[in-house]
Symmetry: C2
Subunit: 343 residues, 2 copies
DNA sequence: TGTAAAAATGTAAACGTTTACATAAATAAC
DNA sequence: GTTATTTATGTAAACGTTTACATTTTTACA
């Protein structure tokens, strides 16, 4: 049986002896209604347990007030994105926005598919961590008048609101730490090099080596995708070298976990035989053995700021674009070893 | 500027020289339209890039065809639920359902809040892993005619479609493994005891001890919430005992990670000084040191079956309720030690 | 008290679909 | 070649809101 529908605005209006327009005004409180009337309507609303039908609201309302946001996430298995989701969610619901999440699993086709779905759901806005091949699509969204904020990475050759972290500096700090602790042969397992984030991290890595006069060896900069499997395989490749690195800097958490798997399966001691520092901290990084040294970026904070920006843009679509770059923090634990004073 | 709206059904109808009803029929293909007409309309649809507005569809359509599902997740930080989400998503989108996720962070108030939001979004159906205090609410949903499927746990005293795993057997297997490997003093860190899942796992734990004639010591069965912090603190409490356990069975992945943090911070060797086996496998459990022995339950599979069930119920709301119980699998790695043959 | 201005409320169209019902066109039966 | 059926299409109402505009009520001021 189809369930009974909820109470409608009309029913409230009838019971309160006013027109639907008045009830609507009470709810949205944009126009003033007389105190007495308002009270009466409010009472009926309570009494009947009326809740506006968001679907009808969205249908009627012009874009910018539909209270629905589309969120395109590259990989929900990655705890970093989960943090972002949490941050977005926390503040979005507080502002009465609902969120539709599309997790496209790093798949270009699915990403496009979701955009279409979300459009036809009449979202006001898109939050997207764009994947290679998305430039045109995202551009289209902006042109069509959607509010769009990019997270985690910007888009080459496109002006947009972006919230991300200082990948260059984060990578730099990590590698500098390895150097300070005595390493000179430091490998880098990077991600998909079509993603700006990846490129920035490579730059940071190279800059740190340069600063300390360590030659860059392209043989120990390896990269493919930003997933667990790549981490497993690329670390194996590095450790198989005749002249293997003594330390590895991994470009994200999934790569780190993959590398750890390989290192442990070979019975290598961390940090004695191989040190590791990864981009992305995880709330259980301390539960690893040894506790992982990592570059922390706050997904939660990224989420929070994103919603803020979105809010602003919906209110004023002509506001100039901004790019917010958050600082990262190096969390030193025990996976890199340490240098004794004076050594 | 508000962006241009999409192409409407009416525009298609005009261009094709037919009525909106006909176009609607072509799209939904419930009634037959003449081949010739259909072709013409299809052509215009392609040409104009028409996509139905799901909001309008949902407003007009009676429940059961709104193509929107509400998903209430207790804790998106828990990788197990992420797997469930992935499973649900994969099959849902294939059937043209969109998903709205509400992550209520184990908070009763927020759970209720989300239910209200989702109702006013006119979802067809709810998928919910109910939290204590939800019985009445979920019951209400069913009575109101929503299709509802519970995941991960059922609801006391309520007939419903449920998809879960055999928690009793999973726990039993884990503890039996510890016993087989030589442990007799086995502690259990359990979760929120208001949740059926937790209770079932405790039963399994006790049954295994009973089978081998090991006395149950209530002092080493501890439980509070199903989160990381509880894992950290409760394991500390256990290890502080004058007569600490030699093995710990943890009731879920967050508790496991918390316990690992404590164990490592005290420099205890696993499994020599303390063994651990946890409910919930994680794709990076192998990256832990030592690789974790764990009870695997397939969230992905749970998600898949859930959608299947939901689909069935929407199609036939009178179908009798079913309870699907999936098997778990003990993944033996290195966190429990092993017994030599003949010992 | 009467009139003008301001404030409060009502009326009805619109958003983009689906669908019951009515009508028109095609086919079948005679 | 009518008439009865069947098949294809059109018409218009409905879903639950918001909002421009019209109307009514109240207040202000003389």
């Amino acid at each position: 049986m189809a369930g009974q529908k909820g109470v409608s605005l009309k029913e409230v209006a009838d019971k309160a002896g006013v027109s639907t327009a008045t009830v609507s005004r009470v709810i949205n409180s944009k126009t003033v209604v007389k105190g007495e009337t308002e009270l009466r309507v409010q009472k009926v609303i309570k009494q009947l347990g009326y809740r506006p039908n968001r679907v009808a609201q969205r249908l009627r309302t012009t874009r910018g007030a539909s209270k629905l946001i589309g969120l395109l996430i590259p990989d929900i298995q990655n705890p970093f994105y989960v943090d972002i989701i949490r941050g977005i969610e926390q503040y979005a619901y507080a502002k009465n926005f609902a969120i539709v999440i599309g997790n496209f699993s790093q798949n270009e086709e699915r990403q496009k598919f979701y955009i279409e779905i979300l459009k036809s759901e009449s979202v006001d806005a898109f939050i997207v961590a764009p994947f290679p091949g998305m430039n045109e699509y995202v551009k289209e969204l902006v042109e069509e008048g959607y509010a769009v904020v990019c997270i985690d990475r910007g888009l080459a050759n496109m002006d947009l609101d972006v919230v991300k972290v200082d990948n260059y500096q984060g990578a730099f700090d990590a590698v500098e730490h390895l150097i300070n602790v005595g390493h000179t042969r430091i490998a880098h397992i990077s991600g998909n090099t079509l993603i700006p984030t990846t490129i920035e991290r490579i730059s940071g890595y190279e800059a740190a080596l340069n600063k300390y006069g360590i030659a860059i060896d392209r043989d120990i900069i390896v990269g493919r995708n930003s997933d667990h499997k790549s981490g497993v395989e690329l670390s194996a490749q590095l450790l198989d070298m005749s002249n293997p690195p003594t330390a590895i800097f991994t470009s994200n958490n999934l790569l780190t976990l993959g590398a750890l798997e390989t290192i442990h399966s070979r019975g290598l001691k961390i940090p004695e035989q191989v040190a590791i520092v990864g981009f992305d901290d995880m709330y259980w990084a301390m539960s690893l053995n040894p506790p992982l040294t990592a570059v922390r970026q706050s997904g939660f904070e990224i989420g929070r700021i994103t919603i803020e920006l979105l809010h602003q843009r919906i209110a004023d679509p002509t506001r100039p674009f901004v790019s917010i770059v958050l600082k990262t923090e190096l969390i030193v634990r025990n996976s890199c070893g340490f240098k004794l004073k004076g050594m």
